[in-house]
Symmetry: C2
Subunit: 144 residues, 2 copies
């Protein structure tokens, strides 16, 4: 085989391998069976929430406690209720997508003081905490 | 150029192209700037919720009203509150990931009777509806 042919085979092979790894390692994709810890900050009179601090300090700190159990995290800003004139139910919602709930609880328990002491730096809201299992994801609509 | 060389170049080229398109078209990936309609079903005494019907009938029906504005949808089943002994705040949460809120409201408005009439088929819970903007997604943790 000539050198040129040899390098072309290598080139094609590398192309396919790198393609495969990019499909297998999505960066922020929810998956069925994954767990989600959702921290909801209810709206209300005299409630304050510093989104900048939450984004830049609080969530990265908590994320750092979770290690490889954390797949990715997300921050949502509430913009409306059922209609644009309804009250917004939650000012903000944070999400940790994790693979193991017991491991999450252990990591949070070990760092609970640091987490609770940081609340006053960005909000006066008592958050609601929900742990869910992702039951279904539907993406078939994309093929339309 | 020989025929073999020609086909090898084509082969390598197709490999790279298909790789690129698989990176550009994730199937169920939240993205910053995308909007999320979240339908939360609060837990409570005498509350009922038929997850099977919700998964197989209600959510697919509503999704069918949303067209290409809908990127994907997700269904979560509540499994715990802050600790495993706390009450679960929400029995279930449904999410529509969309690109345009006004278009979503229009589509729902046009089909509101079908949606409301279907509630009694799976639940007696009055859902809370939250519309949020995805402010931040953090996936850096994956590189650790």
């Amino acid at each position: 085989m000539s050198k040129i042919k040899f390098f072309m085979v290598i080139f094609a092979f590398i192309g396919l391998i790198s393609c495969k790894s990019s499909q297998l390692k999505p960066t922020a994709m929810p998956q069925t069976g994954m767990f989600k810890v959702e921290i909801l900050y209810p709206n209300g009179e005299d409630k304050t929430f510093d989104m900048d601090y939450y984004e830049k300090k609080h969530m990265p700190m908590v994320a750092s406690f979770l290690g490889e159990n954390l797949k990715f995290y997300e921050i949502d800003k509430g913009i409306a209720g059922r209609t644009s004139t309804d009250k917004i139910p939650f000012v903000a919602i944070g999400y940790f997508y994790i693979s193991d709930v017991a491991e999450y609880n252990k990591a949070i328990g070990q760092n609970i003081d640091a987490i609770i002491n940081d609340f006053k730096n960005y909000t006066n809201i008592q958050p609601v905490i929900q742990i869910s299992e992702i039951k279904k994801l539907n993406t078939l609509i994309l093929n339309n």
